[in-house]
């Protein structure tokens, strides 16, 4: 009996070993190794590997480009997540109602997130450019237009990318909110109606509390994704993080110093760990604020 149990256990280990090995070799090892690298001057170019202590971290905070990337990333996160979440919720409420063509609208709103981000970014780049459609639209409605096109004017470049991001992400998170809405039992609404609760009261007393776990998931995932924004920056700034670093985010900065030119892996790893810490702190705060683990209905 005992030997049979041992046999079973070893079979289990053999079956999960491919995944565990992959995790160890391709995830955990690089994770730990890059922490080590962040204290060295390792660069792919010159092959040197000397211990530098904390100097990478200190140098980062005196690098104006890195400071700009910190600022831009925070603007990006703070400026997109509330909008994406609210829009996604509104869209979900809208398509959850028994209206005509509800399925059509659901697919239509979800569609942008099915298209590759690179393609989306290229489309928006041409919409945003000087003499492009958006400028035309703005001037028709009498709005001021940026001097060098939306993406090449410092004051509008980052916000233009953020706008696109909200537009794409809202549809995707709408679907998750919709799943959350569908899981709220109808009896709750029926009971509330019998008790004479208004629509608004029902929304605030039933719908919102019931959606709390869904909202937490959405905000958490979106926060992590937004902190790591890169592809749209890379494409829409013509791989420059410009104009004048106006769109340089942390991951773009990491790519710029670590993966080309001087290949300063040490500095890049340090920047990556700072990003990791930022995400960790924000995530913990969000979990606390949402009272993770508490019961849904009070």
């Amino acid at each position: 009996m005992k030997s049979n149990g041992l046999h079973q256990r070893s079979t289990t280990y053999i079956f999960i070993s491919p995944w565990v090995l992959t995790l160890l070799v391709f995830w955990l090892f690089p994770l730990v190794y890059s922490l080590y690298l962040s204290f060295t001057d390792y660069s792919l170019g010159n092959q040197a590997l000397n211990f530098r202590g904390l100097s990478n971290y200190i140098n980062l905070f005196s690098d104006t480009k890195f400071l700009a990337s910190l600022k831009n990333t925070l603007i990006f996160v703070i400026g997109t997540i509330p909008f994406t979440t609210v829009f996604a919720l509104l869209l979900a409420l809208l398509v959850n109602r028994k209206i005509r063509f509800a399925t059509f609208f659901r697919s239509a709103y979800f569609l942008p997130s099915l298209v590759a981000l690179v393609v989306m970014a290229l489309v928006f780049t041409s919409l945003y450019q000087k003499g492009g459609y958006l400028e035309f639209l703005f001037s028709m409605t009498g709005l001021p237009t940026p001097e060098r096109g939306f993406l090449l004017t410092e004051s509008t470049a980052l916000y233009s990318i953020m706008f696109m991001d909200v537009w794409i992400a809202s549809g995707y998170y709408m679907l998750i909110f919709l799943a959350g809405l569908k899981s709220i039992p109808d009896e709750l609404y029926e009971a509330a109606e019998l008790d004479g609760a208004s629509r608004v009261q029902q929304f605030f007393k039933i719908t919102l509390p019931a959606l709390r776990p869904t909202a937490l998931y959405i905000i958490l995932i979106n926060t992590i994704k937004s902190f790591q924004v890169f592809i749209e920056i890379y494409i829409m700034s013509n791989d420059s993080g410009g104009p004048n670093n106006a769109t340089t985010t942390i991951v773009y900065y990491i790519y710029d110093i670590g993966l080309r030119g001087v290949f300063d892996m040490g500095m890049a790893s340090a920047a990556a760990y700072i990003l990791f810490l930022m995400i960790l702190i924000v995530a913990v705060i969000q979990l606390k604020l949402f009272g993770y683990g508490k019961a849904t209905y009070e």
């Binding site: 092959q47 450019q129 000087k130 003499g131 096109g149 090449l152 104009p243 080309r260 030119g261 001087v262």
Partner: protein, 408 residues
């Protein structure tokens, strides 16, 4: 069950052993994938070479322009770089400075006169690569817009003053029409647009290890470049090329890829080309950026003899001409091949490229050039956006460059 495993093992052994046996030596060649037209030609050239040298087999490894440099660096880092590597002109000194490339001074000696463009491959009096395909940039202009602006389309701008003046006149033609195509910041591209103006004004980036960007010549060049940009259309190179092809730009600095675009999709206006002008001064001469493709040998390669054989074949007249024509380049490194293009003489725009080649220069050869050019580009960008006076911006840039040079 066991039997099957034995059979499989036996097969693996047989297969493995037969693969291990190698009669001919395999030469790996990392090269850049430029367009579909190039592939059949390079295959043909490889077949021709292999037929003449049955003991050598060429294995092509494709790279592309967006991440080729990274791949090469990583392959050197992991000691898996190919025997022969095609490198952009700026990269030869970068890798040579790290002792990753073989010194080919001896081998290049007999070729000094038959090939052009060696400057970019020379570092500390040693030659690290063979020029293969050269590239330079000229000014293209829209003749129709010049006529509309009351200018003579047969006389392109001959100096800075005229270029500015003509651009301004074309700029005033209408809302969607712009005089000059000014490059927005794109890494590894913007400096190639500014340096010709610096050089034409007798300015320099470096003299030995000293930064020369604070000189009055450099400040003047940047001031002029900013003025030109102010009356121009600021966009990425790709967008500028498109805008020019759409007939909405008067002047644009571009390379031979624009000729290729025009061949595939002829514009509905008359196109002219001229040398990038110099200021109206006695000692000022046109200047342009000299780029190109170089064939280099990995310092770790144990097949130097074979590698040289293949390189010498690629830079000889016929193969060089064939490859350049397929790649759409009008400036082969082999002088006889270039003469052949001149003789063919169909496209007058191509002539301008060959003429500009006489006034084209590579980036200054310096092991830290990758960082230095980054500083120059940031400075030019700042100036274009009027983030300060050109003199201050260049002083700041010089301080940074001096720091970079002294760090190593």
């Amino acid at each position: 069950m066991k039997k099957t495993i034995y059979i499989i093992l036996a097969f693996i052994l047989i297969f493995g052993l037969s693969c291990g046996e190698k009669e001919e030596s395999e030469l790996t060649f990392m090269h850049f994938w430029t367009s579909e037209d190039v592939r059949p030609v390079i295959n043909l050239l490889v077949a021709e070479f292999e037929a003449a040298n049955p003991d050598i087999k060429i294995k092509l490894i494709d790279l592309n322009w967006s991440n080729g440099h990274d791949k090469i660096t990583i392959s050197f880092g992991t000691k898996s770089a190919a025997d022969i590597i095609e490198l952009g002109s700026d990269w030869v000194p970068e890798f040579a400075a790290k002792d990753l490339l073989m010194d080919l001074s001896g081998e290049s000696e007999p070729y000094m006169d038959s090939l052009m463009g060696w400057e970019a491959a020379i570092m500390n009096d040693k030659i690290y690569g063979f020029p293969w395909m050269l590239g330079t940039r000229v000014i293209f202009y829209n003749k129709n817009l010049m006529t509309e602006a009351g200018l003579n389309p047969k006389i392109p701008p001959r100096n800075w003053e005229e270029l500015y003046d003509y651009s301004k006149k074309i700029n005033e033609l209408g809302e969607q029409i712009y005089g000059f195509g000014s490059n927005a910041y794109e890494k590894f591209r913007l400096y190639k647009k500014f340096l010709p103006f610096l050089w034409a004004n007798n300015g320099k980036v470096l003299e030995g290890d000293d930064c020369m960007l604070e000189s009055p010549e450099a400040v003047e060049a940047l001031k002029y470049y900013v003025a030109l940009s102010d009356i121009g259309f600021l966009e990425s190179q790709r967008q500028l090329d498109d805008k020019f092809m759409a007939g909405e730009l008067g002047f644009i600095i571009s390379g031979d890829w624009l000729l290729r675009m025009m061949r595939g999709n002829p514009p509905n206006f008359q196109v002219g080309a001229c040398l990038i002008p110099a200021p109206k001064k006695d000692n000022a001469r046109s200047a342009s950026f000299l780029g190109g493709e170089f064939l280099t040998v990995n310092a770790r390669s144990d097949k130097k003899k074979e590698a040289m054989k293949f390189i010498q074949f690629l830079v000889s007249k016929e193969p060089n001409l064939e490859f350049n024509l397929a790649a759409g380049s009008v400036t082969p490194a082999n002088k006889q091949a270039a003469a052949e293009i001149l003789r063919g003489g169909a496209n007058p725009l191509a002539m301008v490229f060959l003429q500009q080649l006489n006034y084209a220069r590579p980036s200054p050869v310096h092991p830290q050039w990758v960082q230095i050019q980054g500083v120059i580009e940031e400075a030019v960008q700042k100036a274009i956006y009027h983030k300060g006076q050109p003199a201050e911006i260049l002083k700041e840039a010089c301080d940074q460059i001096t720091k970079i040079i002294n760090e190593e």
